[in-house]
Symmetry: D2
Subunit: 372 residues, 4 copies
């Protein structure tokens, strides 16, 4: 089958690779209909991880069941399904408690697995024609038949823990940040601030009812406090370790990186007793880090300030399984349309060009779906 293969920094190719097969009785094979390029794929693409050439990318996958292992109970060929990016078993200590992003079964020696991602286990990615899905009864979420809302379902993502009436600052208006802001709006937040410096992204934020803040026009913390006369209840870091300094170019690989800037800004902007959610990626080893500390994943955090304010902080990969059935139902009921974040849908065969443009954020590339 055809698949997107990593060749080295800033280089992917669509190549022929072996078709996946049923390897365990709980497996299914899915014929991919949509697979997204995620901002976290760019970390690998840019050579900012330990990923070796040869890996097939793609962890946001949906499609049609092609074949089922003989232990699979609830799925049949022809079923339309979407999979969390996490690969999980459903029965280990972490999965049992809902922490499906930290499964200890699927990636021995580590807590957490994913499709097509460095260090996340042996699972081949879905930017391809077919995908092997293990523990399929657990990992496949059934969708309504047909092709309605294809792009919406491809984006089943997290609903942040925000209460109605709260105010939230979401740093980063890439796909993860926009989805986080959108979730806050859906959950009844009173005010959602969306911080970025890419015009197209800030426009999309405004479209869904968030208040756009351009950090090239001044410290975003001060901008928000000036508007509100106060900080906010909750802060979200949807940027991660490749954070850009104000005024730097928006293009990947060329910006001035300040890896702790967003963390210290959310500490600043959130009111005492508030909470910080950090879906943006931080890594323990970064070959391209700006200094020795950054290369080892150590960041200078204003911990005294954090403590004085009594803030809580949650980190780590989302546990998608916890909420994706609810989001599916919101989409089916017409209450959520996350596909607004998608800027381009392109054939799988054109993936190389899509990676180049998405990485450079040119031609309005903010979120890409590949269609095999």
């Amino acid at each position: 089958m055809k698949a997107v293969v990593y060749k080295g920094p800033f280089d992917v190719a669509v190549e022929q690779v072996p078709d996946p097969t049923i390897q365990h009785p709980n497996d299914v094979i899915v014929k991919i209909t949509s697979s997204c390029i995620c901002g976290s794929d760019l970390h690998m693409y840019e050579g900012r991880t330990a990923a070796e050439p040869g890996i097939v990318f793609g962890h946001e996958n949906m499609g049609i069941i092609q074949e089922t292992g003989n232990a699979v109970k609830t799925l049949s060929p022809g079923d339309r399904v979407v999979m969390p990016f996490n690969v999980a078993c459903g029965f280990c200590k972490n999965c049992q408690r809902g922490f499906t992003g930290f499964c200890t079964t699927v990636n021995p020696g580590f807590a957490g697995g994913a499709y097509g991602y460095v260090a996340m286990g042996p699972w081949v990615g879905g930017q391809a024609e077919y995908l092997q899905v293990p523990y399929a009864d657990f990992n496949c979420l059934p969708l309504p038949e047909g092709t309605d809302n294809e792009a919406d379902y491809a984006l089943l993502a997290e609903l942040a823990d925000v209460r109605p009436g709260e105010s939230v600052a979401v740093f980063g208006a890439g796909p993860v940040g926009l989805m986080a802001a959108y979730s806050c709006v859906i959950r009844g937040a009173a005010e959602v601030y969306s911080i970025d410096h890419v015009k197209e992204r800030l426009d999309k934020a405004a479209e869904i009812g968030a208040i756009p803040i351009n950090f090239d026009q001044g410290n975003p913390v001060n901008q928000i406090k000036d508007l509100r006369g106060d900080g906010v209840d909750k802060g979200v870091d949807a940027v991660g370790y490749q954070a850009a300094a104000a005024g730097s170019s928006a293009a990947g690989g060329e910006q001035d990186e300040v890896p702790n800037i967003v963390l210290n800004q959310i500490i600043d902007v959130v009111n005492p007793t508030g909470a910080l959610g950090i879906p943006g990626l931080y890594v323990p080893t970064d070959p391209g880090g700006v200094d020795e500390n950054a290369r080892n994943g150590a960041l200078s955090i204003n911990f005294g300030r954090l403590f004085e304010k009594g803030l809580r902080l949650g980190t780590g990969q989302c546990n998608v399984k916890r909420y994706n059935a609810y989001l599916r139902d919101l989409i089916a009921a017409g209450k959520a349309c996350p596909s607004f974040v998608v800027s381009h849908e392109v054939p799988l065969i054109d993936a190389r060009d899509a990676y180049i443009k998405f990485d450079k954020r040119i031609d309005g590339y903010t979120k890409v779906i590949l269609n095999p």
Copy 2:
């Protein structure tokens, strides 16, 4: 001052009563600008409680601070404020844990106080020109200056505990039921069913995005299960002990009462592991109960079914203080407009006529605000 005084079953009058005064250093006097008639006032109005003639009604009150006691810290004359219907001290064991509907200080020998309500303590109601508010720093919620959103703020009510993507059935589309349905919509429910048999109410439910179910057209549980092919995640009983049987007249006092009908219907319609919320009023003694059991507040509940489904159930007066600041911020941000439930605003002086029409649900009376 003028106030709405209970004279006996189906009879209120606007009469002259003594002006309230500061009786404790933590008191304030509020000049009332809006005071709602609540469906629970009708329980007293109809003689279905132990209320004695002479009581001044009114527990949904807002206005302008007129005078402050010498221990009051954060409020000044001229401040615009709204008060929860609960009267609470802020420091007893229950208030400390957020159960401000069950204060043990303000109504000695009982847990819970309210303005102008039988058995809820000595607090005079606010369907009047002025109101004494105790523990004012705790009980008064400051509002933005001016007169914007007057009717919205007058309705600061509860946000039900619903998660995004869930389905909910709300029995009763009176003001409490409509507000509960509206809260579910704001919080991101996928589907909200609103059950009643009064046309104007069902129309309002449809307006805010709920799915209206008329129980005169068949068992509402079956109607919902037919539409969904399944039950719902959460059920809300916003009706209480004066529940009407299907087909009975809508007018108060003339309907066929079946006090346990809604309770057993929500047990039926909610899926296993789901939750039941019961803001509708049930009372331990009801002089007008349909039989001896009902008169003692004992109802026949399908407990075996409830247990088999593993349902959870929460009851009791709302603890308004927990969320009214958040709802205020939603209103101020233009994200919530609860005043859609208000059918009429009338001068205080016309309260007698308003009670008659609201009680009979004639001339479209579904929710009335009195303006002194």
Copy 3:
């Protein structure tokens, strides 16, 4: 193999039945080392359910893995395991959210399955030499090798939701009630009251640090309020629908049954804003119910009082999987020894006699483990 087979009301026999076999790739066969007789087995034994002759009893099972299906990942022959009484798949909507007592996969058309229990699915009980366990990676909890703490592990049961410093009244001091009281003690409750009228049970309650209350010596609610000068924070009904009136004989089948007595007593004894936990069994149809309502699982509940106090209430089968790993670790660390509730360990072959004595509560039979 030999197994305990239900022959009809008040009659079981140890008979030869077919050996279980692997029927699905996720199954294992367990060689039983211990299987308890549960108080809820007596509901079937006494003919108080729809159970038909021929059913093999036993839902509290532990043993050694004998054989594994070819999809089983984490278990091998020779592993020592214990199983929750619930049979669950691990991947349906309810299991995913931790409600493993309400699995929708293992008992089609119903939410919830169990071994050897009427209406709980096709699963044969474990009061036998061998047991088929489906979805074995999910349902089997591994135990330390060897035979240490055999009786403790056989009793992995629920830890009630009690906070340190709270006061709790647990109605019923049979095995479930004693375990609930013991859990409260372990979790740091300040005072635990244990209500029963069987001397041996009240003695055991005192042994673990609970305060015994004999309901034959007066209304237990009054006894507790007299001791404390107040009600309690939490109430637990570990009795269920076959509740005995005060003064009635302790022997099963001969007591005066008052099915709603305990429910109304916990409503009485718990303070406003408190919570009621109801692990005791209530059923939607009871062939031996005291009246027409009871036969349909409808009970007269003091709902007005419940509402006035703002009580919360949780019901249903325990979701054992949620906590059994934690309780295993407490036992392994020597911090919990639930085997104190066991009065007798007898060979499987003597099960008939054990049922007779346990049902009559004679010869000190309070909890029995069968050893094949």
Copy 4:
């Protein structure tokens, strides 16, 4: 009256200061019977904060009500009471939600107040004969009459959020760390590790059932992982910013300080999906910090590791009001005796000597109560 007055680094004196008076109708004056010296007093004592000479120390206070303001409702002269170290109003946005450690009323411009502590508002400390307590109905917790359990009640401290059966590592076995470990034991933790290098402290940890780990004998993370073959579920940092490197002298002021060592160790020792609780003090400005970053409260944190493990983290002053009534009831019921941490009770007049010895950890000084 006599009081402990800060004179400058490493210098306090017992001096005559003005008696406190009722300054607001909600105030009371308490005659102090016990006031503890807290490890956080030593931060000021050692000159490691911005505290100016003249401040009266003492935030862990109990005594007898001497006089009440005219708005006080529930307290009378003669009542025995204990006060949280936080000063709180009970009605601001933070207090309402239980965050009484972050009151916005009592210390204008800052969230949080305390008695006798730098930057925590104008409140005079209780290492003195009398104490002014504002918002007394809210801040005073009534105790049983008499003098029983005086030392126990003086130590009403936090119960960490630990679930039965979990494993916990508590860094620091000073009073806060010992109390945290003790709380975990009371709440039913399966294993509690207590890390320190002072022999007397480790002995006390062993006494209450914790497993002592001496960090002078090797990296405590490795020691724990070697013992368990795994990390732990929860980690507690009860040390704070003056953390000592392994092998350094135990005496205050002379040790090798490594301010981020404990934070990075708890990140290391806690398993993925676990939680970190940080009651140990971190400050935004530290005049005596080991380097420029430390002086500004910025610490190098292994954030990539924290993220990869998906850990949660809670910080800040305890909100004592949330749980002190429960702990009082545990003490009254004989289920908790926190006074085991007290090494010395000395007359107020001897406070100077007690500070010297406690600061140097000589003569077994681990926790001191001053009795006026």
